[in-house]
């Protein structure tokens, strides 16, 4: 019998060629598993959690009762984390509306860099298989393509682009990144401009791609280079490559762009893509799907018509990244309860003095400060079935459990909580 493959839920690539088996120290991920997958499966395999109330092991009923009591007492609850699968999100949203909660994903700030651009200018994008089969020029921003997406190069950039003609594939690295992550024989142009200068670099490339008269000397100075380091020539060559591409792809990962107003740099790049597409084909690939960010947003967007962060206060739904972003709401002391749901990752839960916290979290998660209630839940693709959106936004994959566990799903846990709440009065 051929091996039954597992799909890895731990990054946006959703590699579906893993073989996961029980081992002595947890789950053993092999097949296509990358280092991160091995670590995550192994950590989950070893865990045998129990619900906890203020750090003390408790029975499931006791923990649910306490969580329901806290939820019932809250006037201004916030729901955060949301690195979850579709099923969990489908359960969370009706609860959010019932509680009048403010709801946000832990990675909203990164994701919002792209959403801003979509909403305020638009974007031309592509997906993994197009990159694999078509891309003859690949421009890589930052280093998330190797750091956050371990098998991106192997799966999308190493296979020959069969529709690209005979020229093969060329690479441009805009920011410092590990050149050795790319195929050794690949033609590669490195601009290596510091990430903080991306706005100027992106604007310069957009202007040059449009054939506008930009002084390369001034651009080089603005980018912190000098007349002798060849940056001017490399900028010019980069623009030639962009225009010569038959099907170019520009890859970035919004989480990398950690400088203020990074969405403007993305917008400049989006502008460049528009210009290039007047003559040839060139598409963006905003790599995402880390920690379920695309999934949480997609479900919220289709059900409510508006993305995250959102407020369900007062029986309405409102989208405002400025007012409803969870870190701000918490920092201003506006929330009186935090419900943190994350069945995929183990990001730290914000600790706010005097704000009771309920965590529906992965089985292996630990805490610096014990939350009021911790309810361990199944991880989709490990203990339970689930669905996640892949990092190119179009494909949703089914996550088949690799073992039969006894942990309830986040969705089931939320429904159990909701059932314990007083019936809605309206």
């Amino acid at each position: 019998m051929p091996p039954s493959f597992a799909t890895c839920p731990f990054c946006g690539l959703l590699c579906d060629d893993l073989v996961v088996t029980p081992g002595p120290a947890g789950l053993l991920a092999a097949g296509g598993a990358c280092e991160r997958a091995r670590v995550e499966f192994s950590a989950l395999g070893a865990a045998s959690p129990s619900p906890r109330v203020r750090g003390r092991a408790a029975g499931l009923d006791e923990a649910l009762d306490e969580a329901a009591r806290l939820l019932g007492a809250a006037r201004r609850p916030a729901i955060g984390g949301l690195d979850v699968d579709v099923g969990a999100m489908r359960a969370i949203l009706p609860l959010a509306q019932r509680l009048g909660a403010v709801i946000d994903h832990s990675g909203s700030f990164a994701k919002y860099r792209n959403l801003h651009v979509v909403q305020e200018s638009g974007l031309i994008t592509t997906t993994f298989a197009e990159v694999r089969n078509r891309a003859d020029v690949v421009v890589l921003v930052g280093d998330g393509w190797t750091k956050r997406f371990p098998r991106f190069v192997e799966r999308m950039l190493v296979p020959a682009p069969v529709f690209a003609g005979d020229g093969g594939r060329r690479f441009v690295l805009l920011n410092p990144a590990d050149r050795s992550a790319l195929p050794a024989d690949a033609e590669c142009l490195e601009l290596a401009v510091p990430m903080a200068e991306l706005p100027v670099l992106a604007g310069t490339l957009a202007a040059l791609a449009a054939g506008r008269p930009v002084s390369l000397d001034r651009a080089v100075t603005a980018l912190g280079g000098s007349a002798s380091d060849g940056l001017a020539e490399r900028l010019a060559r980069c623009v030639d490559w962009l225009r010569e591409a038959r099907y170019g792809v520009l890859v970035w990962s919004a989480a990398d762009l950690e400088f203020p107003h990074a969405e403007l740099a993305v917008q400049a790049l989006a502008r460049m893509l528009r210009v290039l597409n007047e003559k040839t084909r060139f598409a963006g690939l905003p790599l995402a799907g880390v920690d379920g960010d695309l999934t949480a947003n997609a479900v919220q967007t289709w059900r409510a018509g508006l993305p995250l962060p959102a407020s369900y206060a007062n029986g309405t739904v409102d989208f405002d990244p400025h007012r409803h972003a969870l870190p701000g709401r918490l920092a201003r002391g506006e929330c009186d309860l935090l419900l943190w749901v994350s069945n995929l990752g183990t990001k730290p839960v914000p600790v706010v003095d005097g704000v009771p916290t309920i965590v529906l979290g992965r089985a292996d998660r630990t805490f610096d400060a014990a939350p009021d209630v911790y309810l361990p839940v199944a991880t989709p693709g490990v203990d339970a079935p689930g669905h996640l959106l892949r990092g190119d936004k179009v494909i949703t994959l089914f996550l088949k459990p690799v073992r039969s566990g006894s942990l309830p799903t986040a969705a089931a846990m939320i429904e159990a909580l909701a059932a314990r709440l007083e019936p809605a009065t309206c």
Binding site: Q119, A202, G203
Partner: protein, 271 residues
């Protein structure tokens, strides 16, 4: 003092939408009726009388005192009358303003005058980020009226601005006039980094040369620009610092950009 006066006496537990507190809506109502107006908070409504001392008489002038930043959208969509805000006025003051006058004797939060179309807002202190811009997810910022900030503005002032006038006596943060579509900005203080980023059209008058000009703006020589001189002269009434600029400015160093966008905007540095 004439008009209606609200003085904040209780801090709400979470931000409150104050957009119902418009002179045009309250005018002519009894104080008791005004005390019973419910303002939406987070899963609760707060009666005006619970939060504010209410006094005076509801005319076309409304003054709100002791503000602490916990009210959003004060003066939003106002079409007429005068709203005087004292203290920390909160975010989104004068959002989508359509004609009234808002005077802030204190500071304003983020998104001051965002999407305003007509009317006038004057801030004695500083304003936060995105003054004169537009709401997140929308294409256009302020599209008319006058927004005057005596202090500093934060980042992204006049972002996506489409028409109207933004006057700033103090300094501006990063990305002044980012993605500006049209309209006029006059800045007397210094602009921080990347002024004019992705600017498409419009005019930004700078009394001081920014530390660095984006390489996607090209110098277009020194110009007299009569229209700008006239504009500056017309600003005499906005205060002595504007009239001094009008008197002093012999001409302008003109920079055109942003070439990363359609490149028809101008940054004018006075000399």
């Amino acid at each position: 003092m004439s008009g209606l006066r609200l003085s904040l006496r209780a801090r709400p537990p979470a931000r409150v939408d104050g957009s119902a507190l418009l002179p045009e809506k309250l005018q002519g109502q009894t104080l008791d009726a005004i005390r019973r107006i419910a303002l939406p908070g987070w899963n609760e409504f707060h009666e005006v009388g619970e939060l504010f001392e209410v006094s005076g008489e509801a005319t076309d002038r409304l003054q709100i005192d002791q503000l602490d930043g916990s009210f959003d959208r004060l003066g939003a969509l106002a079409t007429a009358g005068t709203l005087v805000l004292r203290g920390q006025a909160g975010d989104l003051v004068g959002e989508g303003l359509r004609g009234a006058s808002i005077e802030i004797e204190g500071a304003a939060g983020d998104y001051l005058g965002c999407g305003m179309r007509r009317g006038r807002i004057e801030v004695r202190g500083n304003a936060g980020h995105f003054a004169g811009s537009g709401r997140a997810g929308e294409l256009q910022g302020m599209s008319g009226g006058t927004l005057l900030v005596r202090g500093d503005v934060g980042d992204r002032a006049a972002d996506r601005m489409r028409r109207g006038l933004l006057l700033v006596e103090g300094d501006a943060g990063d990305y002044l006039a980012s993605r500006m579509l049209a309209g006029t900005v006059v800045l007397l203080g210094r602009a921080a980094g990347n002024a004019g980023y992705l600017m498409r059209r419009g005019t930004v008058v700078l009394d001081q040369r920014p530390a660095q000009m984006l390489p996607t703006f090209n110098a277009n020589g020194r110009q007299d620009l009569l229209a700008i001189q006239l504009l500056l002269r017309s600003l005499g009434g906005e205060g002595p610092r504007f009239s001094r600029l009008a008197a002093r400015a012999g001409g302008f160093e003109r920079w055109l950009g942003d070439l990363a966008a359609s490149g028809q905007g101008e940054l004018l540095v006075s000399f």
